[in-house]
């Protein structure tokens, strides 16, 4: 297992290099100049040129890319142009917020969707199934930001249950944190819930037609026991794969949700960095997100071995 993990980590290196290269190239294509936005509207041409020189932007792109890689290999992600701080420490500051939002969101979404998917599978073709699947389809189709805005209108403005935005750190007040994070977590999880419900349902339906499920019935197990211990236990392998992928997608979703609810997480940092053409910050955060993706997928692959003994052997 250790060898396997080491090999997987090594294999991640080219992936990360490619991601950083793409991030760099994209920024070269997108019009805009960080020196312009930093120097302000009234800056003279000389001032801007001076700034470009200081930031190293007058160098050819290949030289800048090379310099960035050299620094990266030394563990230096560079300095943000606009926020006047190390990219690494900026990311480090924001991670706990986005990560806690993502985990909270998955803690809500995963149990609900697994139960809903299993119920829909059990009562396939009934109105209950139809209702659950319809809701799940809505969850997948309706964009996050719209649900977020509607949520703010109803639960914050109309009912006053939750604040309409902002972030309270759990160090300050735990209840404050829960109040500030519940709605963003729910909104962030809607698409995940929709997808996961649909996948759980189809996996369960498939499992329930398997011979070993018939055997479990022939042994005298109740329908609930057959569903949970035999069908669900076997459906978990594909379900966990999807959970891993969804967890990765949540970072993408966080970009929007953090914007809507003014939560100072990694997603907002990326948006800010892109708007101000803060190259080091963009490259650093994208690299981090990619690394997180790779890491989560590795965790998923490792979890297979625990869920399925047939994989454990190979």
């Amino acid at each position: 297992m250790t060898g396997y993990v080491a090999r997987r980590l090594l294999a991640a290196i080219p992936v990360l290099l490619l991601v950083s290269l793409l991030a760099f190239l994209l920024m070269q294509i997108v019009p805009g100049d960080p020196a312009h936005s930093m120097a302000g509207a009234d800056a003279s041409v000389e001032e801007i040129e001076q700034l470009r020189h200081e930031l190293g932007l007058d160098q050819p792109p290949l030289v800048r890319l090379f310099d960035w890689y050299v620094a990266l290999l030394q563990g230096d992600l560079g300095r943000s142009y606009t926020l006047r701080a190390d990219v690494a420490s900026l990311i480090h500051e924001r991670i706990p917020i986005t990560l806690s939002l993502a985990v909270y969101s998955m803690l809500i979404a995963v149990p609900i969707s697994i139960v809903m998917g299993a119920v829909a599978a059990r009562y396939r073709g009934s109105f209950l199934d139809l209702g659950i699947m319809g809701t799940a389809l809505l969850g997948v189709s309706v964009p996050n930001f719209w649900i977020g805005i509607m949520g703010i209108l109803y639960f914050s403005v109309h009912l006053g249950w939750f604040p309409s935005g902002g972030y309270v750190s759990p160090g300050e007040s735990v209840t404050g944190w829960i109040r500030s994070m519940t709605m963003p977590a729910l909104v962030l999880g809607t698409m995940q819930m929709g997808l996961l419900t649909r996948i759980t349902r189809s996996e369960m339906l498939e499992m329930m037609h398997k011979d070993f499920v018939r055997t479990a019935r022939a042994k005298g197990g109740s329908e609930l026991r057959v569903m949970l211990r035999h069908a669900m236990r076997n459906a978990l392998v594909p379900i966990v794969t999807v959970i891993g992928l969804l967890f990765g997608m949540i970072v993408t979703g966080a970009v929007v949700v953090e914007q809507v609810f003014s939560i100072p997480g990694l997603g907002r940092l990326i948006v800010q960095a892109i708007l101000t053409r803060d190259y080091p910050l963009i490259q650093g955060s994208l690299l981090f997100v990619a690394a997180a993706f790779v890491f989560i997928n590795l965790l998923v692959d490792i979890s297979y071995a625990y869920l399925d003994p047939r994989i454990r052997q190979t």
Partner: protein, 329 residues
């Protein structure tokens, strides 16, 4: 005579979709006495497996269901039993083993865990005691190194071992009836004989009745007391095994027996029954074997199909037999 252990009366199994109802099994009636070995023989698709699943109320509902008839196990109707009684019956009073032991075992549990589950579903005892009993029953089905094997996952065992595990799981609660649905079809020929021998030995030792579903007449000839021959969802002949082989009454049975190649002489060509069995839903009215029958006569198509008694326990669903017996009278 005491009432039989199992009594199937006029069983009909149908597949239902929103638009139509397909008849799959019709008018099946037979008895199984305690300790008896009954073989059910037929081609694929003749309804023998569905008949077997009906015995435990295991038809894949809601698509397929028994729409008519009774399955009486010790005078209780399995088809109308409340769920609780059904759970008590399955695995406890009736055991069942299936065709493919690879797919019939849960791939993510050790075989020991799966047998322990069966025990604990029906008997209250400690997990340790159930584990001990699991190892004992694995020994009983001739699994060597049974303690080690109990900790193995199904994919770590050979096909024959897996089927032995299935048998162990089915008999661990000492059922009065074991239903074996083509238990050797997925196995090597050499293993087949061992498994059949084991089933028969367990039946004799435990006084358990055994219903063997198979398409292999040879197996039935060797082990069974009584045979039911099924064709297109109906029983076409039932008889004590010796009777069936010495004087088969239904043209289909005769065809089956005739197509077993003799081992002691060279044959130029294998003898077969010409044509294909009709698919469910495309059954001819009247005798379903008629399109393939070489002995058909005028009147066959309109003859109301029913089992005609021939001799003691022997009956066949053929008009010719009815005419013969009428002549004798």
């Amino acid at each position: 005579m005491a009432s039989p252990l199992l009594s199937v009366e006029a069983l009909r199994v149908v597949a239902e979709t929103r638009y139509r109802q397909n008849l799959l099994v019709e008018d099946i009636s037979f008895d199984v006495r305690a300790g008896e070995f009954v073989g059910i023989v037929g081609e694929s698709g003749c309804g023998k497996s569905l008949t077997a699943l009906s015995l435990m109320g295991l038809l894949p509902k809601p698509a397929v269901r028994a729409s008519h008839g009774k399955v009486l196990f010790e005078n209780r109707n399995v088809l109308s039993m409340p769920a609780r009684d059904l759970h008590h019956l399955r695995g406890n009073e009736i055991g069942m083993i299936f065709q493919d032991p690879m797919s019939a075992l849960n791939p993510v549990q050790t075989v020991g865990q799966q047998i322990v589950e069966t025990i604990l579903l029906h008997e209250s005892m400690s997990r340790d005691a159930a584990w001990q009993r699991t190892i004992d029953v694995l020994k009983e089905v001739n699994i060597p190194a049974s303690e080690e094997r109990a900790r193995a996952y199904p994919h770590q065992l050979s096909g024959g071992m897996r089927q032995r595990v299935m048998i162990a799981m089915a008999i661990v609660c000492r059922p009065k009836l074991l239903v074996a649905d083509e238990p050797t079809t997925a196995l090597d020929v050499t293993i087949q004989a061992q498994i059949l021998e084991l089933l028969d030995q367990l039946r004799r030792e435990r006084g358990m009745a055994l219903v063997l579903i198979t398409h292999d007449l040879g197996l039935v000839a060797e082990y069974a007391d009584r045979v039911l021959v099924m064709y297109s969802g109906r029983i076409v002949e039932q008889a004590p095994v010796a009777d069936l082989f010495t004087r088969p009454q239904h043209p289909y049975t005769r065809g089956l027996l005739g197509s077993v190649p003799p081992l002691d002489e060279d044959v130029e060509e294998l003898i077969t029954i010409e044509g294909q069995p009709p698919t469910p839903g495309a059954w001819p009215s009247g005798c379903r074997f008629l399109p393939r029958c070489r002995e058909q006569q005028v009147g066959c198509a309109s003859w109301p199909v029913r089992l005609v008694p021939f001799h003691e326990d022997h009956a066949a669903a053929c008009m010719l037999l009815e005419r013969e017996t009428a002549d004798v009278d």
